[in-house]
């Protein structure tokens, strides 16, 4: 019978149906970081269990890493103790740890793929909701909580119920100035922040299949913002070429054998879906969030909803968001003055994101009132960007060029907003307080749009914006 990739991967990894009615699912790759794992390891010790498959377990530090001064011990004692706990746990249980000295440290969802650990047909788990990112490779990747991290450490399996599958087909040419980030913000805006609950999202269509792996990762990364715990793209030549020669990918003849298997895991052409949604790429504009969840977005030149013109069931949420953000309904987000510009995160902290932003920035200066940060997603991204001279482009423009980490996406490190600052951000969440100030405000957009906002000092439409020439010389 024809099956989707989700069903094939599920069937392959299902151990048995548990007495609690859920499926025991085998996990092929477990990625661990410092925030959601210490309590899991502590419980493991307490209950006398061990790590069943240390060779399938890899760790890094990302959330709490300072991105400016990285000398140990970290100035923040809690950050230091979390790091020390992970070091000890990895040492005690024989887990490969991509630490700061490794040259391969970075945001867990950036390094898994770039090391070639993330591969098609696998099940992947990580104690982080953006684990859906790895689905870009045709893996089924679950964000899990700490008790499930404990279960995966102790058993290499977890107890879970199957998901339905919604195919989201995007077809046609994206218009100039429209990026993968705009595609996923558009999808979430259309289907809602809870539209994906109970579903895995299969992203398909010619637009998606023309995308690079970096772009597909941006799309899959934000599945969870649409309520879908899992998002994936069927593997194809783009996937295989990305993986070729990566450190942890199969090599030589093994690689060719792996490709044959990976191809067989893609959804069958006549697979049946629980739901299908079709989106015309030409309808997507550069998209910016104006509210306090990632579904509250508009085309950059569009108008914000007016509380008098929305359904009763949505009014309270929209009023709350407009009040928190200090926006008036019916006006535009275009022209909103920003205080901070942040380029980075597991959504948009990869080399191609930095290239797109650098292209906008080159030869211009960050507006005097704007604090602007570029935070590469990994040490390898940083090194590659530096080889291309992107760090110089950013620094000459007045951006700070930082070390790899989650940085200002979630403010568990020194990078954060203060007071009611407005941040143009390439990250994934605009929740109240997300960027570290309880009253701070986040506008999500593509890295190129963040770069343009940094230069202009306000939200601009990258399709029409012309930066003022920097006066020659000095």
């Amino acid at each position: 019978m024809a099956r989707t990739l989700f069903q094939k991967v599920w069937d392959l990894h299902a151990v048995r149906t548990l007495p609690n009615g859920q499926t025991q699912l085998y996990i092929g790759l477990h990625l661990v970081h410092e925030v959601t794992s210490p309590q899991a390891f502590a419980e493991l010790r307490e209950r006398g269990w061990t790590v069943k498959a240390p060779h399938r377990t890899f760790a890094t530090i990302d959330h709490i890493v300072p991105t400016a001064a990285q000398a140990r011990p970290f100035a923040d004692l809690m950050a230091e103790s979390m790091t020390a706990a992970l070091e000890r746990n990895c040492r005690d249980y024989g887990i490969r740890f991509f630490d700061l000295a490794s040259g391969a440290q970075g945001i867990v969802h950036v390094i898994g793929p770039e090391m070639g650990l993330t591969q098609p047909g696998m099940t992947i788990a990580c104690g982080d909701s953006h684990t859906s990112t790895h689905g870009a490779f045709g893996a089924i990747a679950f964000g899990i909580g700490t008790s499930q991290v404990r279960d995966v450490l102790a058993t290499q399996t977890m107890s879970i119920s199957p998901l339905k599958v919604r195919r989201i087909e995007v077809n046609g040419q994206l218009r100039p100035g429209v990026f993968a980030k705009d595609v996923i913000l558009h999808i979430i805006g259309k289907l809602g922040v809870k539209g994906g609950t109970g579903y895995a999202y299969e992203y398909a269509g010619d637009t998606i299949h023309r995308m690079s792996m970096d772009e597909r990762m941006t799309i899959c990364n934000m599945s969870i913002e649409g309520g879908a715990r899992v998002g994936y793209v069927n593997p194809d030549e783009t996937t295989f070429e990305y993986l070729r020669d990566r450190p942890y990918a199969p090599q030589g003849a093994d690689f060719d054998r792996a490709v044959a298997w990976w191809k067989s895991m893609a959804s069958d052409p006549d697979a049946v879906y629980d739901d299908v949604v079709r989106i015309d790429a030409a309808d997507i504009a550069p998209t910016v969030t104006w509210g306090i969840n990632p579904g509250q977005s508009v085309p950059v030149d569009g108008r914000l909803p007016h509380p008098d013109e929305v359904p009763d069931s949505e009014r309270a949420g929209i009023v709350e968001a407009l009040e928190f953000m200090g926006f008036d309904g019916g006006l535009r987000v275009l022209g909103t003055k920003i205080d901070v510009a942040f380029i980075g995160s597991c959504t948009n902290g990869r080399l191609s994101d930095l290239r797109e932003a650098a292209q906008v920035v080159a030869g211009h200066k960050v507006a005097p009132h704007v604090r602007a940060l570029v935070v590469p997603g990994s040490q390898k991204v940083a090194a590659a960007a530096e080889r291309e001279g992107l760090d110089r482009i950013f620094q000459e423009a007045g951006f700070e060029w930082r070390r790899a980490g989650c940085s200002m996406c979630l403010a568990m490190n020194p990078d954060r907003l203060s007071g009611r600052e407005v941040c143009a951000s390439s990250s994934n969440r605009n929740f109240k307080g997300r960027q570290g100030s309880p009253t701070g405000r986040t506008l999500l957009m593509s890295p190129a749009m963040v770069a343009a906002a940094a230069i202009a000092g306000e939200v601009v439409d990258i399709r029409t914006w012309k930066p003022e020439a920097v006066p020659a010389l000095a």
């Binding site: 982080d128 109240k432 997300r434």
Partner: protein, 204 residues
């Protein structure tokens, strides 16, 4: 591993949809290697915001102190996978959450720590929230056998899947022991995976 058959106690209503885990427990409180003390910071920024606006957050209302049942809106617990969110709520004293709907990871995390979650239609929730506000001492009771929520004389059926119900009733919400049971089947599954990972050869 304890069986959970019912949750009794007073209810605290938290209005609003899409209440995310950053609001339930702001990220700065995740800088810890235990879950201890998280209850002190549950909804911290929402509570501060309410105070600044001259309102009182339900978790600060004297009349709701000691409540064991949380009534919430749609998509409760969306966002991050941090188990710190249900941990903070549970450590504050909540044993069951009845919402219009839940975000999936939050729901699973709650079940994993033995906090019962069930859903009700929006109109019934609104009525029960109003009731909890008007009569804060009224005893609510979530009956997991019957899948009902009662408040005084009023009894409404709640939605709870068979899997969740049986996990709570049997005590199997803590699944690790189940997962370790019959481990030879896990090993058999692992052995037949056609992975050609290349991991063994990696010299990084």
């Amino acid at each position: 591993m304890s069986k959970i058959e019912e949750v009794r106690g007073r209810a605290v209503p938290v209005h609003g949809d899409d209440i995310d885990t950053d609001r339930i427990i702001p990220a700065r409180f995740l800088k810890t290697i235990t879950f201890e003390g998280l209850e002190q910071h549950v909804f911290e920024d929402d509570r501060l915001e309410a105070k600044a606006q001259g309102r009182v957050h339900p978790f600060d209302e004297p009349k709701h102190q000691g409540a064991t049942i949380l009534l919430a809106g749609a998509n409760f617990g969306c966002g991050s996978s941090r188990e710190h969110a249900p941990q903070a709520i549970k450590r504050w004293g909540i044993r069951a959450i009845i919402a219009e709907s839940f975000a999936e990871i939050f729901f699973g995390n709650s079940l994993m720590i033995g906090m019962a979650c069930a859903t009700l239609p929006a109109d019934q929730l609104q009525q029960l929230m109003a009731l909890a506000e008007e009569q804060p001492d009224l005893e609510f009771r979530l009956d997991i056998h019957e899948r009902t929520l009662s408040a005084g004389d009023r009894v409404v059926p709640v939605t709870m899947t068979d899997a969740v119900r049986s996990a709570l009733l049997s005590g199997n919400w803590d699944a690790t022991a189940l997962l370790l049971d019959r481990y030879e089947e896990v090993e058999a599954t692992a052995a037949r995976l056609p992975y050609i990972s290349g991991w063994d050869r990696a010299a990084v």
